[in-house]
């Protein structure tokens, strides 16, 4: 370690813990205002239709409704979207997904509103439904958004080297296709927002379960046609988000705001679980085609990759999500010749957007499954194949970025994970045991033979598998990357702190407090973290891309350092010395090592105030430059990367196909760990969600209608599903952000499903290609539930 820290890396109780364990934490739905009205959504039970008319007469005559609200009430932008403005706040021409909202009824009593909403008559004409991503680009395909010429949302090509030559020089060529499903964020708190119109010409105040208040502000201001300053967004305590309370919440905020301005009363929207799953965006399903050429020894020569993502009814974040896929599609391996195409298309399926992982879990599942297969053909171990091809210092990525300026820890994390899990000996042992696995009855010749029976002693097979990745930190060439922090030190030494990056429940407030406390040598309990309010702090971009500790932390450190520099001047005068290198900030005091004098931090703050020294500051952190050529997919995509390796140890029940997770060893290199409890929490959470992605979770829709509308059908992991998670951090010496603290939130999720697939292969001898690896997939290698898009395993 470069520095000896006072508090960084030590266990610190989370800022919001007291309120959260006592029930006092106020989440969006816990806010109520006098005179508040509620809103009920009007939808139609189809996923593609032309709207002809909406007749409210009967609903209004029922006397249960205070107002109606639809696109005609919108003073500003009627369509919104982070990149393409293709999503209506209220649909008035077409419905393109089953969650689409046409209008709202506003009233005093929610129960009555639900009754009244049944009286709204919508005249619509059903249109042909497009659900198969493969068919979306067909010439005769139904165009989902007629304002665009086809259903292509985005296409990212990446070209490196000479792909044909690469395949010619290869000893082996392997081609595989993989699929992944829609995944629901399933944040425990359903969406809720209250919009409160402010008297006079003061605009509107919005309190909600909003992931990114500044983004919501932009959307609401555009929809209301107001300047940004007239829209004040306050984030309530956020009950989980994982990337999911961004665009949906921005639109809900806009709807509530339109209704509040129309009725001149506070309007609350709060969703049931069913509405939440029905309308919110999901993780993108991908169809991934890989063709890879390699030498006898297992050295990768060429990769041709064709990824197709289901954007659903709206483009939303698809252009950004799929961009991360194009950067990371080849995995953390040096490949001379690469030809990648990543496309996202419109369909009438639920729309898709940001979800922790953001376009990386899908290609990692495919490409890490593939690496194990290549190793098998080359006759080497999963460790060896990664050593032969893995990134090292000076390696050139698929986008021709030369990896330097940061620690390239790939081999380190792989070796550590292998060592902790005793990987090679377990892997070899399980592999030998595979031969005892029974073969399954051939459907065409269903005569049961002795070898089809499983001896009880052979029923449970152990498997171990690993997956590894590199991940670009923060936004990269996606967009502007900078963050602000506000600090204000009071005369008693207590401190107001706020970052422009909003807490999402993961513990950011605590991480930021630790950073400020470290710089100023104070205990973190002196810090009062302010409410997330767009009126107080500058737009710092969104809490996404595992960028908050890195970018937000950098800004907090900058702000605290500005204050420290000012305090230094006061301290020099006070101690009557000239060299501030002798000042030590520690244990709430500033000591002068030269002459053993001390002053309390609070006393120094009072002195500073008395000398008219400002103790408020705004810190700013801007990432180094990055770049991208859209035509060739070449450039320095991200300014720094993290590396991770996870090992899954599973038991597979050979007679039911059930996979039980004994242990996941998760080795990550997040640079410096600032908040150790938060960091551990990120690993537990990421691995658990990754396991859900790998084994159980899927939103299956038919004709665009979602079946799993609540937790009874959408199965997320419980406390009994994973026996043990073992987080290991490889800390480093990088210097970005706050003491080189990098990313952790998403790397922890993106690896797990691939590690599980490789472990199941090790246990059963069967390679599986279609997530989730649930009972039917493991036992029968097919998905039993009907689905419009036929997956490889179902053919």
């Amino acid at each position: 370690m470069k520095e000896k820290f006072n508090i960084v890396g030590k266990p610190v109780i989370r800022q919001d813990a007291f309120n959260k364990v006592t029930g006092q934490a106020k989440f969006a739905d816990d806010y109520n205002y006098p005179n508040q009205l509620y809103a009920a959504m009007i939808r139609i039970p189809v996923s593609h239709a032309k709207i002809k008319s909406i007749d409210y007469t009967e609903a209004i005559e029922s006397g249960l409704v205070a107002a109606t609200c639809d696109s005609s009430d919108i003073p500003g932008a009627k369509k919104v979207g982070p990149i393409r403005k293709d999503q209506p706040v209220f649909c008035d021409e077409k419905v393109v997904t089953s969650g689409d909202v046409l209008a709202m009824l506003i009233g005093e009593n929610e129960y009555e509103l639900k009754q009244a909403s049944k009286k709204v008559k919508v005249d619509f004409e059903e249109l042909p439904i497009l659900t198969d991503i493969e068919k979306a680009m067909d010439e005769d395909a139904q165009i989902i958004h007629p304002e665009f010429e086809n259903n292509l949302i985005v296409h990212y090509p990446l070209r490196k080297g000479n792909i044909d030559k690469g395949f010619e020089e290869s000893d082996h060529i392997l081609e595989q296709t993989y699929t992944t499903p829609h995944i629901e964020h399933a944040y425990i708190e359903p969406e809720a927002v209250v919009a409160v119109p402010l008297e006079g010409n003061r605009g509107i105040k919005i309190i909600g379960s909003i992931q990114n208040p500044h983004t919501a502000r932009k959307v609401v201001a555009a929809v209301l046609g107001l300047p940004l300053t007239k829209v004040r967004i306050i984030q309530a305590e956020l009950g989980g988000s994982f990337g999911g309370k961004d665009d949906t919440m921005n639109i809900l905020s806009a709807r509530a705001a339109v209704a509040a301005l129309k009725t001149k009363r506070p309007v609350k929207i709060h969703y049931s679980r069913e509405e939440s799953i029905l309308e919110s965006y999901k993780r993108h399903p991908y169809r991934l085609k890989y063709k890879v050429g390699f030498s006898k020894a297992g050295k990768l020569k060429a990769m041709k990759i064709d990824l197709l993502a289901d954007g659903g009814g709206y483009s939303c974040m698809s252009p950004f999500v799929t961009w991360r896929s194009v950067v990371q599609a080849t995995g953390p391996y040096e490949v001379e010749n690469v030809w990648t195409d990543v496309r996202a298309v419109y369909t009438n399926n639920p729309y898709t957007g940001a979800f922790r992982g953001f376009g990386s879990p899908q290609p990692i599942f495919a490409q890490e499954s593939l690496m194990d297969e290549i190793a098998e053909i080359a006759g080497i171990s999963p460790i060896e194949i990664r050593k032969i091809n893995g990134f090292q210092k000076g390696s050139v990525t698929a986008s021709r970025q030369v990896l330097r300026d940061h620690e390239i820890n790939l081999l380190k994390v792989v070796e550590r994970a292998a060592e902790e899990s005793n990987f090679l000996s377990e892997w070899n042992k399980n592999k030998k045991d595979q031969s005892n696995a029974p073969s399954f009855v051939d459907e065409l010749n269903p005569i049961v033979k002795p070898e089809h029976f499983i001896h009880p002693s052979n029923n449970v097979k152990r498997g171990i598998g690993l997956a590894t990745s590199f991940r670009g930190c923060s936004l990269g060439a996606e967009g502007v990357d900078a963050a602000a922090a506000y600090i204000s030190v009071q005369t008693d030494g207590s401190i107001y702190l706020l970052s422009g990056l909003a807490e999402n429940g993961q513990g950011l407030k605590t991480t930021f407090s630790i950073i400020a406390a470290e710089v100023l040598g104070i205990s973190e309990d002196r810090i009062h973290y302010l409410e997330q309010d767009t009126g107080i702090i500058a737009d710092s971009g969104p809490t996404v891309a595992s960028r908050s500790t890195l970018m937000g932390g950098g800004a907090i450190k900058d702000a605290a350092t500005i204050i420290k520099n000012r305090l230094n001047e006061v301290a020099l005068k006070h101690f009557n010395i000239t060299d501030y290198d002798v000042l030590v900030y520690r244990n709430n005091t500033i000591s002068n090592t030269e002459n053993n004098l001390k002053i309390e931090f609070s006393e120094l703050c009072q002195l500073a105030f008395n000398s008219a020294v400002s103790l408020s500051a705004v810190g700013w952190y801007k990432g180094p430059n990055v770049g991208w050529d859209e035509e060739t997919g070449q450039g320095d995509a991200y300014f720094t990367y993290v590396y991770g390796c996870q090992v899954a140890d599973v038991s597979v029940d050979m007679s039911t196909g059930e996979v039980y997770i004994n242990k996941i060893v998760a080795v990550h290199d997040p640079g410096t760990v600032i908040n150790i409890m938060g960091a551990l929490g990120q690993v537990y959470g990421g691995v658990t969600q990754g396991a859900g992605y790998g084994l159980w979770e899927a939103i299956e829709s038919e004709k665009g209608m979602i079946k799993e509308l609540n937790y009874d059908l959408y199965i997320i992991p419980t406390s009994k599903d994973i026996d043990k998670i073992e987080p290991i951090f490889i800390e480093g010496e990088d210097d970005h952000g706050a003491w080189g603290a990098k990313s952790l939130g998403e790397p922890t999720l993106e690896l797990t499903s691939a590690a599980l697939a490789n472990a199941i292969k090790n246990a059963t001898g069967k390679r599986l290609f279609n997530l989730p690896l649930n009972l039917e997939e493991v036992l029968l290698s097919k998905k039993l539930r009907p689905k419009d898009f036929v997956r490889e395993s179902s053919k």
Binding site: A17, G23, K720
Partner: protein
Amino acid sequence: MSKDSESNKISRRNFLGKAGTGIVGSTILISSIGAADKTGPDLAEAPPIDPKETDILNLWVNGKKQKLKINPSSTLAEVLRNKLNLTGTKIVCNQGACGGCTVVMDNKAVYACHMLALDAAGKKVVTIEGLLEGEELNHLQEAFIEKDGLQCGFCTPGQIMSAYALLLSKPNPNREDIMEAMSGNICRCGAYPNILDSVLLAVQNKN
């Protein structure tokens, strides 16, 4: 909503609304599912169509006697949140599938979203707010803070109330007992290892 008309299974919400007045006890609720659409002779009054606060509910909440005028189709979770402003109890799935609304009734963990408030008549209900004695945290709350048994905190009241009920019936549970008792409380942040450690620490601290 589209979903109601599509599905032919009984909507719990409609059912609760119709079953309404006078039904007490879950056994009756279950037995009357088949006849949910009829007004059976057992019902003293016709089910209310209009949600007026027609019924009086007497119960104890966090040690305090409450007499409330309620809509008979309200769930216990709705009454706690909307009538008593005890917003620590969260409504998450509203169908008894996630444990987010767990409160303790007569020393047992119940899903407050999954029962009519009228079924709590005369009972003693403890919510997350009831664990705090003045400024004093319950040992479970302390342990959840110390072991970081939470992230976003939305499932936390339910988690703690499940653990509280477990400790009432089994003061010295082992790891497996805790896993079993709390497996009905889901946490999307995946704080499970810390939640388990929190309860283990609380048990240890209590002894």
